[in-house]
């Protein structure tokens, strides 16, 4: 038993707890001492966990997606729900990043994005009835709730106005189901392939570039964090992106390539990235994340808004200038 941070079954006061502090995990070790299965165990009433389990089971049956996921199945007895996955003896991307050279990191980003794209393409057919499939997403409309949350958290009116304008200029973008939490701790490298983990947010976001931006931002921040300070708050991404370092160039190149591959021009790509930054920050605030987790993304939004106010554009940050 590990990661035992929340009670199962949930107590009434724990139901409102930050979802990262729920339940426990099990590692099942076979007679030969090899870890065979990884099990997530949560309260049976945890609807988000039940959805994640079903998403994994159904994506695992889809030919285009199964190579990017560990095989998984779920079971529940009304008190506890267990999501059982074949244990993958790989390495978490977060642990690999500090040792990667710039070119290797860029290749990793491209590989992971390719795996995520394969899952996104297979998802609409595999998850009939489970995804809110649509043709397009109005970024300004979709981002309104996040901006309201950030306003309540103290983001100043000028910053909000600039961000609102960027979202409006992006217009309607082609809908594409996103993983929703594609950061380096949710990616495994196993024998040359990339596996994606933790599908709790899958398909809840349909704005393109969300996963790309999250992956690029979090891996760039991990690379900029000294190894001895691995548990310190990450540095802001926006200043990194503005810089002239090789890592900054990789960020801009990967973002720009992904945007063009998805048929997005500069305004649409900027709107998609602003949607990601504001939605991610607002989601942590709304879900009751601890301040140590919620504060840095909120500061990131403010920093990005400052660039927009200062330069009037952020094309240079996204590989479009």
């Amino acid at each position: 038993m590990m990661n035992s941070v929340g009670p199962v079954p949930l107590s009434d006061d724990a139901r409102a707890a930050w979802h990262g502090d729920r339940g426990f995990n099990l590692l099942l070790v076979d007679a030969a001492g090899r870890t065979a299965f990884f099990c997530k165990c949560r309260d049976a009433s945890d609807a988000a966990f039940a959805r994640e389990t079903e998403v994994l089971e159904r994506l695992g049956e889809a030919e285009g997606a199964r190579a990017a996921l560990p095989a998984a199945c779920g079971i529940s007895d009304g008190r506890i729900r267990i999501q059982m996955s074949a244990y993958v003896r790989g390495q978490v991307l977060r642990h690999l990043i500090p040792r990667m050279g710039t070119a290797e990191w860029e290749a990793a980003l491209t590989g992971v994005i390719g795996a995520a794209d394969a899952v996104s393409e297979a998802a609409p057919a595999a998850l009939v009835g489970r995804l809110d499939v649509r043709a397009t997403v109005d970024v300004a409309d979709a981002g309104a709730t996040a901006l309201a949350t950030l306003a309540g958290a103290g983001l100043d009116a000028d910053a909000l106005a600039v961000l609102r304008g960027v979202l409006a200029a992006a217009g309607e973008l082609a809908w594409r189901p996103q993983h929703g939490d594609l950061w380096s701790s949710n990616v495994l490298r196993d024998d040359g392939r990339w596996l994606l983990l933790d599908f709790e947010q899958f398909g809840l976001v349909g704005t393109p570039l969300y996963d790309v931006a999250h992956l690029v931002r979090t891996t760039a921040q991990a690379r900029a964090t000294p190894s001895q300070a691995w548990d310190a708050p990450p540095p802001l991404w926006t200043p990194l992106l503005r810089g002239g370092s090789p890592d900054a160039a990789v960020c801009r190149r990967v973002l720009g390539t992904a945007a063009r591959h998805r048929g997005l021009g500069a305004a649409a790509a900027l709107g998609a990235v602003v949607y990601y930054l504001t939605d991610y920050a607002a989601r942590l605030l709304a879900n009751g994340a601890p301040p140590a987790l919620a504060a840095p993304p909120t500061r990131e939004v403010a920093a990005f808004a400052d660039v927009l106010r200062e330069r009037g554009t952020a094309d240079h940050l996204l590989g479009f200038a």
């Binding site: 038993m1 590990m2 035992s4 941070v5 199962v8 079954p9 107590s11 001492g33």
Partner: protein
């Protein structure tokens, strides 16, 4: 349903350590079949609340009686959760305490308890002087005490990082230690050595305490 036999704990309690809310999850490892009544000894409100999600009734004993038996009827409980470590200085007769817990339990019930790991690679001397008996319990000593108290079986787990709020409970084997250490995030300093110690079979040095589940 929660019954208190001592004065209620004040509403303003110190912040619980990380993992305290999951401290009742050990129940999923217990091999018992009835969940009518549990006795919580020495734990916090969070401990009792967690236990209350598994058992219909929880009898809360906030502190160990200075003398005499637990104020619980014979063969009335399916579980005793002893939050006071067996080798704490306040426990002068661990064998008698275990026997009293056995008295309270119905056949088929279980007792959960903890004791420090004397082999834990810690700052020398610090553990020994912080409210624990100088000699402490060994694994074989704990097994003997449990057997003499009338229990029929004992499962032992390393409790990591602490008995009070364990976020991991693993069998005290090299395979389990290697599996757990392989899942931990990036480390710094001396913690970098943990996976190597686990692979080298020196897992007994890694964890500060044991959690035992003894079966009636």
């Amino acid at each position: 349903m929660l019954h208190r036999t001592e004065a209620p704990i004040p509403l303003s309690v110190p912040t619980l350590p990380f993992g305290a809310h999951g401290s009742s999850n050990w129940v999923w490892l217990a091999r018992i079949g009835r969940f009518e009544c549990a006795v919580e000894v020495g734990g916090t409100d969070a401990h009792a609340a967690g236990l209350g999600r598994h058992f219909e009734t929880v009898v809360r004993i906030a502190t160990l009686p200075a003398a005499g038996p637990l104020p619980v009827a014979d063969a009335s409980a399916d579980c005793v959760a002893m939050r006071v470590m067996l080798d704490a200085e306040s426990v002068t007769e661990p064998g008698l305490l275990l026997a009293d817990c056995r008295r309270v339990l119905r056949d088929g019930g279980c007792l959960s308890f903890g004791f420090r790991n004397g082999r834990w690679l810690s700052r020398a001397g610090a553990w020994r002087t912080r409210g624990h008996a100088a000699t402490g319990l060994t694994v074989s000593g704990a097994r003997t005490l449990v057997r003499r108290a009338g229990f029929s079986g004992l499962d032992l787990y390393y409790a990591d990082p602490a008995f009070a709020a364990p976020t991991a409970l693993i069998e005290p084997t090299s395979q389990a230690a290697r599996a757990l250490e392989g899942e931990k995030p990036m480390r710094s300093g001396l913690a970098l050595a943990r996976p190597f110690l686990a692979r080298a079979g020196l897992h007994a040095m890694l964890y500060p305490a044991y959690l035992g589940i003894a079966y009636a």
